[in-house]
């Protein structure tokens, strides 16, 4: 493949720029729905764009005694990771036939990079509260990664049984959510997504009221802006990934209307997680770990078992 094409895809469409715009729009949806739940009017449509733009012109502070290059580099790890993850998922959806066998595993791995970036950045802050936030992020990652891997294996199994392929592009032609095992796995995956996006009730890494921002505590200006941008991009990439794997993808090839319908599926998932985050209180880290390694993993195992029986 031509390197120039790859870079263009990565930076503009469907990578960084496209996903960032879509992500900021999604974060407006998040704020709008949240406002309506709380009986408020909600921000204007462009508010998330203003927020990131404003952070870009603010001063950058780095903590004394910390590792400055890692402190500034950590947001880039997250940003580039989510760019690659989004590109892998979009490529499968938009350019049919692209992708390679097992790219679903790659997507799973790459989408942990934003969390790695947050952890490294928090540790580079040399701040005890940020360290605590980083360690909570790590424990959260540990807790949801087990059920998430199990849940994603259900559509992998079904796709392998049906079309002998574990390419995302081929998985998007299947509809696992039409089966019992698929529904259970999707529920598990939505809960894991909630934690992966560190949204309430799994926002212990930031925990404004006790850690005053935790992992992001020392960040300001452009580096913080990049973290916010990464989060916004994750907010659309994760639902998109789940739609691809569980709900039959976007059907871009079938015309504009089915594609818009596909985007509605993504929007639906976003609204679900926004509603969860507005109706649940924050759980402690140990509660989150118990929750994910206990009942959630159990449900995921049941889903895998049912999937093996072809249900």
């Amino acid at each position: 493949m031509n390197p120039a094409v790859i870079i263009l895809k990565a930076l503009i469409f469907p990578g960084l720029l496209f996903t960032a715009v879509l992500g900021l729009v999604t974060s407006w949806v998040d704020r709008f729905v949240t406002a309506r739940v709380q009986m408020r009017v909600g921000p204007p449509f462009l508010q998330p764009f203003y927020d990131v733009a404003k952070l870009m012109i603010k001063e950058t502070c780095v903590p004394a005694g910390g590792s400055t290059w890692l402190f500034l580099g950590a947001p880039l790890v997250g940003l580039s990771g989510v760019t690659l993850g989004a590109l892998v998922v979009w490529s499968a959806l938009l350019f049919g036939g692209r992708g390679f066998s097992g790219d679903v595993i790659v997507a799973l791995y790459v989408l942990t990079l934003p969390a790695v970036g947050v952890i490294l950045g928090s540790f580079a802050s040399r701040n005890p509260l940020a360290s605590l936030g980083g360690s909570r992020e790590m424990k959260l990652l540990l807790s949801y990664e087990l059920p998430l891997a199990l849940a994603v294996l259900v559509p992998v199994m079904q796709s392998y049984a049906a079309v002998q392929s574990i390419r995302l592009a081929d998985m998007a032609t299947q509809l696992p959510v039409a089966s019992v095992s698929g529904v259970l796995a999707l529920v598990v995956a939505i809960l894991c997504m909630q934690a992966k996006l560190t949204l309430v009730p799994f926002d212990a890494p930031e925990a404004e009221t006790e850690l005053t921002g935790g992992a992001y505590m020392e960040y300001s200006g452009p580096p913080l802006g990049l973290f916010k941008l990464t989060r916004a991009m994750m907010l659309v990439t994760m639902p998109l990934f789940l739609v691809t794997v569980f709900c039959g993808g976007l059907d871009v090839a079938d015309g504009v209307l089915p594609a818009l319908l596909g985007l509605l599926k993504v929007l639906g998932l976003v609204v679900v997680i926004v509603l969860i985050r507005n109706t649940a209180p924050r759980v402690r880290t140990d509660q989150a770990v118990r929750f994910f390694w206990g009942p959630v993993t159990l449900v995921a195992l049941v889903a895998v078992g049912l999937g093996m029986m072809g249900l």
């Binding site: 870079i7 903590p63 400055t68 790890v77």
Partner: protein
């Protein structure tokens, strides 16, 4: 005779061994000469090994037979492993120049190191079972001697290693005897056993146990953590981290693909061993307080991936397992070397007493960061490339390898746990605010001979990850795999790295255009508390050390959680240590026998008389018959 000794296939064995003898005999005043010989001889061995590999690719010579016993055979697998052995020999020798400087008995140390390189080359070249056994046994001895270089505190670990490895050597001997009994042949390339007879299964198990004990897989792992904790770190980087993995996995690959045709049940058993090794060892690593022990548990855990790959029975799985073996040797050596540098400069490996070394030792820090990300399987580093191939192998094998979902989930979840324990290291050693006593130490970066091998291996982790297809896979791994490797899909290492690079570049451009170009340094904010003594006008000086977070207890939550509490308690009781359990069983029986040894003469006389009466009765009975 001379001609025979200079044969290109003999030279990689004899040259390091002879150079080692020279090192041993040199007077101590000539330590510079000894250092040059140690590095030089291992470097020449590397060149010799590379030349053999190139000749093999060109279709050159590949067997050597001087007498029935001395029968050597070079194929792509042994060539690949031999090059890796020689490479780690050079890097370890170079690293040792700095790390071991000022210690006692250095002549012996370098002699053992060179002997290990030579004997290892012999072990992978040997085609005669007895020759393999001889080299294998000698490796156990050099391993014992090298661990013993750690002084009196290492002697228990050395003894334990010797007994575990020696025991597995005995099983290898038994396996060879059975193979010979069944086939009547002693040359490895002439033997292929199928699982049709119970005896063959026994032989297979013997070979497998020998390979797994050498590689340090569970349940034969317990020598690795002890060795990692007590032996000099240059030895840990050289033997349990790289060479023993190369040799153990080499034997496993030979056993699985060549000497035996493993049945479904045996492969599932091996997969189970692999998955359990990944999970249990990494759970142990998670809660360690000592840098050495933590790394050693990972040296156990990573074997699981190699076993999973090779036992999957698919060509791509085997390729993944072999590739992971090479990758593991690279990042784990680098990590042990980082630990060695930290220990030498800061004087301790105790995570509680380290901190803030990221600024003082930037090269070590970056190497450790890269290697830590590589071992956790973060794309686009080499650990991901090989793990991904292992996954492909397991999925391709599907129901042929048993409950494959479990293997995959164990492997993927193992990655997350690995990341967790390395995040802890990065925090506790390099990033956090150092404790008061550590701040007083004046730590600086290590010298060239120490940082170069560390950083070189870190760089290789990146290069082998991005260009995995073009470099290591095509030249080393693929030819070594038995059977045609059909890769259902390629992990696009280089394009993915390009995308990541583009993302990073975009971020850097944003930084360059904004205030991040000239950041302001501020004091950290911790809710109004002061972290360290600072002079702020209008406020009293304070020294509130209590807000420190060491990172050692990050996973206390998990350690004290219900099912894991029991696991860790049992591990502390050494319930999973085959050596300890074996010793306990042994002493149980010894104690029964000991009860008879009361030291009382009448008791002994009673026994004597009773025995004599028994003999008489027996003779009479036999005569009567």
């Amino acid at each position: 005779m001379m001609e025979m000794l200079l044969h290109p296939m003999i030279l990689p064995i004899t040259l390091p061994v002879v150079a080692g003898v020279v090192c041993l005999l040199l007077p101590r005043q000539l330590h510079k000469v000894r250092d040059i010989i140690a590095v030089g001889a291992s470097a020449v061995t590397l060149l010799l090994a590379l030349r053999l590999l190139v000749a093999l690719r060109g279709g050159g010579l590949y067997t050597f037979a001087a007498c029935p016993l001395v029968n050597l055979r070079l194929d792509a697998l042994s060539g690949f492993v031999m090059v890796a052995i020689a490479l780690f020999g050079v890097l370890s020798a170079l690293y040792s120049l700095g790390y071991m400087a000022g210690r006692e008995r250095l002549n012996e140390y370098y002699a053992y190191l060179l002997w290990t390189v030579g004997i290892s080359c012999g072990a992978v070249l040997a085609n005669h079972f007895l020759l393999l056994l001889i080299f294998w046994g000698m490796l156990g001895v050099t391993l014992y001697l090298m661990i013993g270089m750690g002084g009196s505190k290492a002697s228990a670990a050395a003894k334990k290693t010797f007994i575990v490895i020696g025991g597995s050597d005995c099983l290898l001997m038994l396996g060879i005897a059975i193979a010979w009994h069944v086939t009547g042949r002693m040359l490895m390339d002439e033997v292929t056993l199928t699982m049709t007879r119970k005896l063959n299964v026994l032989a297979f198990l013997c070979f497998t146990v020998a390979a797994l004990a050498k590689a340090g897989a569970m349940p034969f792992h317990s020598w690795v953590p002890d060795c990692g904790e007590k032996a000099p770190l240059s030895v840990s980087a050289f033997l349990p981290a790289s060479l023993d993995k190369l040799l153990g996995i080499y034997l496993l690959a030979r056993t699985m693909h060549g000497l035996f045709v493993a049945s479904y049940a045996l492969r599932v058993l091996l997969m189970l061993v692999g998955a359990a090794t990944v999970m249990c060892a990494v759970m142990m690593a998670l809660v360690q307080h000592d840098l050495r022990r933590l790394l050693a548990y990972h040296a156990v855990s990573q074997v699981g991936y190699m076993v999973l790959g090779i036992a999957s029975g698919t060509a791509i799985g085997m390729a993944g397992g072999l590739f992971h073996m090479l990758n593991h040797a690279m990042y784990k050596s680098s990590l042990f070397m980082c630990a060695g540098s930290v220990e030498r400069q800061a004087g301790t490996c105790d995570l509680d007493r380290l901190g803030g070394l990221g600024r003082a030792m930037p090269i070590t820090f970056v190497s450790c960061l890269v290697a830590a990300m590589a071992i956790s399987g973060v794309p686009p580093l080499n650990g991901f490339a090989s793990k991904w191939m292992v996954y492909q192998g397991i999925i391709e094998a599907g129901n042929q390898s048993g409950p494959w979902v479990i293997w995959i989930v164990a492997a993927m979840f193992g990655s997350a746990l690995t990341l967790a324990s390395f995040v802890k290291i990065l925090h506790a050693v390099f990033l956090r605010k150092p404790p008061a006593e550590a701040e007083r130490r004046n730590v600086s970066e290590v010298g060239f001979s120490m940082w170069f091998p560390t950083a070189f291996l870190g760089l290789m982790c990146l290069v082998f990850g991005v260009f995995w297809k073009r470099l290591p896979y095509t030249f080393l791994v693929e030819p070594a795999v038995v059977g045609e490797v059909t890769i259902p899909g390629l992990w696009w290492g280089a394009p993915a790295a390009l995308v990541l690079l583009a993302g990073i570049a975009a971020g850097l451009v944003i930084y360059a255009l904004t205030t991040a170009r000239k950041p302001r340094v501020c004091a950290t904010y911790i809710g109004g508390e002061l972290m360290e003594a600072a002079d702020i006008p209008g406020e009293a000086r304070s020294d509130s050390r209590d807000v420190e977070v060491s990172g050692v207890d990050f996973y206390r939550t998990i350690e004290t959680m219900a099912p894991f509490r029991g696991f860790y308690a049992a591990a502390r009781q050494k319930a999973f240590d085959i050596y300890d359990v074996g010793t306990k069983i042994l002493f149980y029986f010894v104690d029964i026998l000991r009860a008879a040894h009361t030291g009382l003469l009448p008791t002994y006389l009673t026994w004597l008389v009773a025995g004599m009466l028994f003999v008489v009765w027996w003779l009479v009975r036999a005569g009567g018959g």
